[in-house]
Subunit: 350 residues, 2 copies
């Protein structure tokens, strides 16, 4: 790997050196991926009861996911959250609804040839009306109409959906003790149908995700696989509702670029379409796939890339709850993960 | 950071690009060091009682050291290991002694202009004779004579020094439970005087180090600081005893290169002489310094670089015990640490 002997500076040698240096970083990144995959299982650990705080801390130390089958089968939420109960409890309370044309909230879309990062149109609706729409769309299979998803991710279960919060634990004991956080930073409620897909992204949180109704399908990539996901800084955009013509009463979703917003780093590689938007490293990724059934719990470690899709049971909706705990920025994990990403980005840029 | 627009290939642009790429890796390494230091304390945590297994696991997860003051003051070893007791127990048992001219076992020495990694001359001696020599040298201040150190690091406390092993715990409870290892991989006994210094190196072990007599002075560097320590592959060498002249009966230590041995990666930067053998990154290191007094315990996390020197009490020797537990090669820590080192080595090589 030593380039130290190449002290002459003829043109061809410089070119060779540029190529070598690029290769050298790519070789180091490929080595990282291969040693990581050699040293770690190629599937998500399955537990059949909740871990102790110490057992959980070992997973946090390794930054590795696990699923606990049936962890929530005794939760009130699991026992009660049928459509009738949700309607009785929430009624026509106004809640935030994310609306997209194709179920593509927080996703990449192309405007002409330009990829942009699109956020949903957000509006306020009565809960009973939104749930009815979601169920009806699922039952009728009408993927072509607007897709609605209740997914505010702003601690909504302790706010908008406060009346449902009594049906779930206030915190997850093993996480509360291990992470020394009396309360999670946020508890989120999710309700949608099979038309919504959350595209590949990562969060700065330790995440405990619990499926209550329907199934959730996760595709997971470790933060060390950052060189595979092809992160690009994209212009931010938002869907908004506009009249289709000036005179018409009809409205439709259209895209507006947020000119003043900073560009957003977005993973544009999709592990389900691995030949598109690939980096030279993407073929070295080993995505983990896991499906959560009703009552299952997933520990999704901080900074893991995840893509999430869902399928509904016979009630025509999926719903879930997740707990975000602050991740530990101390130690070497965050700094080392950032470094790997920095090297990956600059190598991809060449 | 993007270099993607530089698609022309004139000579001056190539040169600029070579410089840029080197700078880009150096910038990433400097960013790693600065974010690590911003996010972590600049001293070793001090505890006054042993941590629980869970508290310990949080330190392992962070790969951060701590010292427990007075952790071993109830150990039989702490209460008993005066010279008289050691002599009574070990008597004239044959033990392995590491002998060097200057107390420089496992260190860098120069043969002419060539740095080599030197291992000590190892021989077998009676314990009472070796202890007497070590004490006498300490008391007389004769640093110019050969330096002896009992430091085999091959699980010697459960073998050569088995008669002393009953005086220490068989394992450290918090580590045994947290790391799920019934027994440590090795338990080592160390006995020497202030003339011995262990130069900067790292081990693939979680290390619990307990000072019994005298003081130990540690200088510590996190594995993320690998770009600061200037690791170089050096020829291996060993001290051996030869007659000073063919006819003379006198013997002296001389250095023999191990021609067949592979080169050894050695940190040639010394945090106590920071201007020598420095890399462009060395000035960004923030070495942690901690002194263990009699009865203190240090958790030295896996892969941390450490330099160790010692001072003796009035009995003229220092002694210590350490427990090596296997580190976890799973998760991201080992793979990420290796990657950082790979990038650091190739950047230094340019």
């Amino acid at each position: 790997m030593s380039l130290s002997n190449k002290s002459t500076s003829s043109n061809s040698q410089d070119v060779k050196q540029v190529v070598s240096e690029q290769n050298v970083n790519q070789t180091a990144l490929a080595g990282l991926l291969s040693s990581y995959h050699e040293l770690n299982p190629s599937c998500v650990d399955e537990l059949h009861e909740e871990p102790s705080a110490l057992e959980f801390m070992r997973y946090v130390a390794r930054n590795r996911p696990f699923v606990v089958r049936g962890a929530a089968v005794d939760w009130k939420a699991f026992l009660k959250w049928d459509a009738e109960y949700l309607l009785n409890t929430m009624g026509s309370e106004k809640i935030n609804v994310a609306i997209t044309p194709f179920g593509n909230a927080d996703a990449v879309v192309f405007q002409g040839n330009i990829p942009v990062f699109i956020k949903p149109y957000e509006t306020s609706e009565a809960f009973d009306q939104a749930l009815g729409y979601i169920q009806q769309q699922e039952d009728s299979g009408q993927g072509q109409s607007e897709v609605k998803y209740l997914q505010t991710q702003n601690d909504n279960l302790r706010n908008e959906y406060e009346m449902l919060f009594a049906d779930v634990p206030k915190s997850i004991p093993f996480a509360r003790i291990a992470l020394e956080q009396q309360h999670p930073d946020a508890v989120n409620f999710w309700l949608g149908n099979s038309h919504s897909v959350t595209s590949l992204h990562k969060d700065n949180y330790e995440n405990v995700y619990v499926q209550i109704r329907g199934q959730k399908h996760f595709v997971l990539l470790s933060p060390v696989e950052t060189a595979c996901v092809n992160e690009k800084p994209l212009p931010a955009a938002t869907y908004e509702r506009r009249h289709t013509t000036e005179s018409s009463g009809e409205v439709a979703l259209s895209l507006r670029i947020d000119e003043l917003a900073e560009k957003v780093p977005v993973a544009i590689w999709d592990p389900d379409a691995p030949d598109h938007n690939a980096t030279p490293m993407s073929h070295l990724a080993q995505p983990l796939r896991v499906t959560l059934n009703e009552g299952d719990m997933l520990y999704l470690p901080a900074l893991w890339y995840h893509k999430v899709s869902q399928s509904c049971g016979n009630q025509g909706y999926c719903c879930a709850v997740n707990y975000w705990y602050d991740m530990d920025f101390g130690g070497d994990f965050w700094a080392a993960s950032k470094f790997i990403r920095d090297v990956a980005l600059q190598t991809a840029d060449k």
